[in-house]
């Protein structure tokens, strides 16, 4: 049937037919992308120039962007909160992931159990995890402050003191670094032991071997995690939404992240056109950072195949 249709359109060669079948096979996904990704993407870009409340569209030119940069009192605050969180969270989780992976790559007693324990939190997702952490971070009876108390430190009011809310979230993310750790561990296990043995013969110590063999060979994975981590950090939302209780980013606006502010604009104030403008600004930031990261990576990411120019 389809063959006849192709013949009718003059597609007779084997290569041409294979191309046609190729397109047909990917058609559902292409339709999906156009309908559910590209369509909304274009629509959100167009309505970012409009006073749009999901029911009415009134084009207002660049007003949303102007308001974003010069009039919205919470725009810069929410962007600042997100930047601070990203700057602290991404490096700490990345370094933490590498350290844990290197430790769990050694032949230590109970290795499999430790690997499972470290990986387990990364598969625990959802609101339940946040409520669990609210209990762990309770200033008087929480496990975190109880443990700190054992070594003579009086723990802070993690989620009620605005100076400690972001460190609290980062602590929670460090708990869930098992996902990253697994990727590092997989790579570490594929590094030939010959490299380390040769380095030992040359008199290299533990640290030297770590910095000149382990880190360069892990660098593609570190680069991947950094890229994904930066994108994820700028999209932080649930933590602010749940820990602040009412979605306003309390205490003292310290948990008002960019996406939470954006969500409030779209679904509480129904300034959806304005929220779309915020989305596109966030897209620009993330895109610029990703491109910069890509460019800088050529200086420090080592690909074994020697293809360092991509």
């Amino acid at each position: 049937m389809f063959g006849k249709l192709l013949t009718k359109f003059g597609v007779k060669s084997r290569k041409g037919r294979e191309t046609a079948y190729g397109y047909v096979f990917i058609l559902p996904w292409l339709i999906g992308i156009v309908c559910f990704v590209l369509g909304p993407l274009v629509f959100s870009f167009i309505t970012s120039f409009a006073d749009y409340n999901m029911l009415k569209v009134n084009f207002i030119g660049l007003s949303n962007y102007k308001k974003m940069f010069f009039q919205d009192q919470l725009f810069w605050k929410s962007l600042g909160n997100t930047l601070v969180y990203s700057l602290l969270n991404v490096p700490l989780v990345t370094v933490g992931g590498v350290i844990v992976a290197v430790i769990l790559n050694k032949s230590i007693w109970g290795l499999r159990t430790f690997r499972t324990i470290y990986y387990l939190p990364s598969i625990m997702v959802g609101v339940g995890t946040y409520f669990l952490w609210m209990l762990l971070l309770d200033p008087a009876n929480g496990l975190v402050n109880t443990l700190l108390g054992l070594i003579g430190i009086k723990g802070p009011a993690w989620l009620t003191d605005p100076n400690w809310t972001k460190p609290a979230i980062i602590l929670m993310h460090l708990w869930g670094l098992g996902g990253q750790m697994l990727l590092y561990l997989a790579r570490l296990q594929s590094i030939p032991q010959d490299y380390y043995e040769a380095a030992s013969l040359d008199g290299a110590g533990m640290f030297k071997k770590f910095t000149t063999i382990t880190v360069p060979l892990l660098s593609p994975i570190i680069f991947y995690n950094l890229t994904i981590g930066i994108i994820g950090a700028f999209q932080v939302f649930q933590e602010g939404y749940i820990f602040s209780g009412d979605g306003t980013g309390k205490p003292a606006g310290s948990l008002l992240f960019y996406n939470l502010h954006l969500w409030n604009q779209a679904f509480k104030n129904f300034k959806t056109g304005y929220a779309n403008a915020m989305c596109w600004f966030l897209f620009a930031i993330v895109m610029i950072l990703t491109v910069c990261n890509q460019k800088i990576s050529q200086k420090w990411v080592y690909y074994e195949e020697g293809d360092n120019d991509d």
Partner: protein, 452 residues
């Protein structure tokens, strides 16, 4: 060339499929042709509905709410069943959707032109939703006897800026101070003597119990439970909070500064660490310091007794209204409630209204109040109802009579996110309360200016 043609053909097929997929979506643009078409489609649909009704077939309606617990859902379903059995034209189905999702789903369904038929929503923002074009007016169906059955302030909250009524109150709430009777008896306090903020502070000090550096019992902290700085500011201003009667921002007035200093002094008596600790306990929801006897008094809403019934069934407690800031300023509390409304584009507004009328009737309200514990906005909901025969409910009802349900103009929507960070700074002791209010005043003025 052929390959290019083929790619174009498939591309065109893809676009056509996409357009078909998106065909049902109405962007809501102000397009007269589209509006005409929509109107024609609506008329056609109404004709179909009418013919369905005439033919004796039952019209299916969906009622969206978020009540899914065992304490509430069975009663909501019984109420819906009661409506279905009371007539034969409509059949309503109760759909419970989680609180975190229901409002975004509602607006998405309205935008898609396929909303539910009856929606439960909050009372404070009826006017805002009406202004946004999200709800149908009830005026074509509303009769004077139905309108006259509700207290004026609640019906006013359900009225849009254009004067049309867009919802009817399902339930209302207020705030009051719950007190532990055993603690009061032990400290020799008569609850009726607490008439002013000064009386309240003196009672709290009598109730406090400290062992060395450890607080064993907390008399009262005004901004825990369901009380915020705004609760006390509204009380001090006899119903107006951060705005005056002309909706001009009045955050840093002398009255508000005095009120906030008083709040701060109550926190300081116990220390910031104790406040942080109790604040975290309320936030994680695992314990209730009032139910466990750690706190002797607590500001909570009128829905609190149903929670205490589950968490502390043996607790002996009573209720007093919020005291007056100064003698004569009134025992005013801030309150709100929930309404039933018809989302824009609902297929049979008349049927939806019939259901709303049934739910807000005196008999159904008594059924809901008795079983769920919510208060009614009806003015004929007096002591003769089963619910009001309970003395605690009578006390709460008296608080309800002094409740402010101030609905702010649409242009200041979202102002809390701008001023609350400064108010928090004062509450958390990070800045002087007077300075916090000055900064909040400036922020609110800027917000109004930027949103004009």
């Amino acid at each position: 060339m052929k390959r290019k043609g083929l790619a174009l053909l498939i591309g065109a097929a893809m676009m056509a499929a996409s357009l078909v997929g998106c065909g049902g979506k109405d962007t809501g643009a102000d397009n007269s042709t589209k509006a005409d078409n929509t109107a024609k489609a609506d008329n056609a649909e109404n004709v179909v509905q009418e013919s369905v009704a005439d033919s004796g077939e039952v019209i299916e309606l969906e009622f969206w709410g978020w009540w899914s617990s065992e304490a509430r859902k069975p009663h909501m379903e019984e109420m819906v069943k009661g409506f279905n059995e009371s007539q034969s034209k409509y059949h309503v189905t109760y759909v419970d959707i989680p609180f975190g999702d229901i409002f975004t789903k509602n607006i998405a369904q309205i935008a898609a032109g396929k909303p539910c038929d009856i929606m439960a929503n909050n009372m404070e923002e009826v006017r805002f939703r009406a202004g946004q074009g999200q709800v149908e007016p009830l005026d074509p169906f509303l009769t004077d006897d139905v309108k006259g059955a509700f207290y004026e302030q609640y019906l006013d909250a359900c009225t849009g800026e254009d004067g049309s009524v867009y919802a009817l109150p399902l339930s209302v709430d207020t705030r009051a101070i719950y007190y532990n009777k055993a603690h009061f008896e032990e400290a020799g306090i008569n609850p009726g003597d607490i008439q002013t903020w000064t009386d309240l502070e003196e009672a709290a000090i009598k109730l406090d119990r400290k062992n060395g550096d450890t607080w064993e019992r907390i008399g009262f902290i005004p901004v825990l439970g369901n009380g915020g700085v705004d609760t006390w500011v509204i009380n001090a201003n006899s119903g107006y909070g951060w705005f005056d009667e002309n909706f001009e921002p009045k955050v840093n007035t002398d009255v508000n500064k005095e009120a906030f200093r008083w709040i701060r002094a109550q926190i300081d008596r116990y220390g910031q660490a104790k406040y942080d600790e109790l604040s975290a306990v309320f936030a994680n929801g695992m314990q209730d310091p009032f139910a466990s006897g750690v706190m002797s008094m607590l500001v909570q809403t009128s829905a609190y007794p149903s929670s205490l019934k589950q968490n502390a069934p043996d607790l002996d407690y009573g209720v007093i209204p919020l005291p007056e800031f100064k003698e004569g300023t009134g025992h005013v509390a801030n309150g709100g409630g929930f309404v039933l409304e018809i989302p824009k584009g609902a297929k049979d507004p008349e049927g939806s209204y019939e259901f709303i009328k049934y739910v807000t009737s005196r008999e159904t309200q008594d059924f809901l109040s008795t079983n769920i514990g919510d208060f009614s906005a009806r003015n004929d909901f007096d002591d003769s109802t089963e619910f009001m025969s309970n003395p605690l409910n009578q006390d709460l009802s008296r608080c309800l009579s002094e409740t402010s349900t101030l609905v702010l103009p649409n242009e200041v929507k979202g102002y809390e996110t701008v001023i609350n960070p400064f108010i928090d700074e004062g509450t958390l002791g990070l800045s002087n309360t007077d300075d916090a209010l000055d900064k909040a005043q400036k922020a609110l003025e800027d917000y109004i200016k930027n949103n004009k």
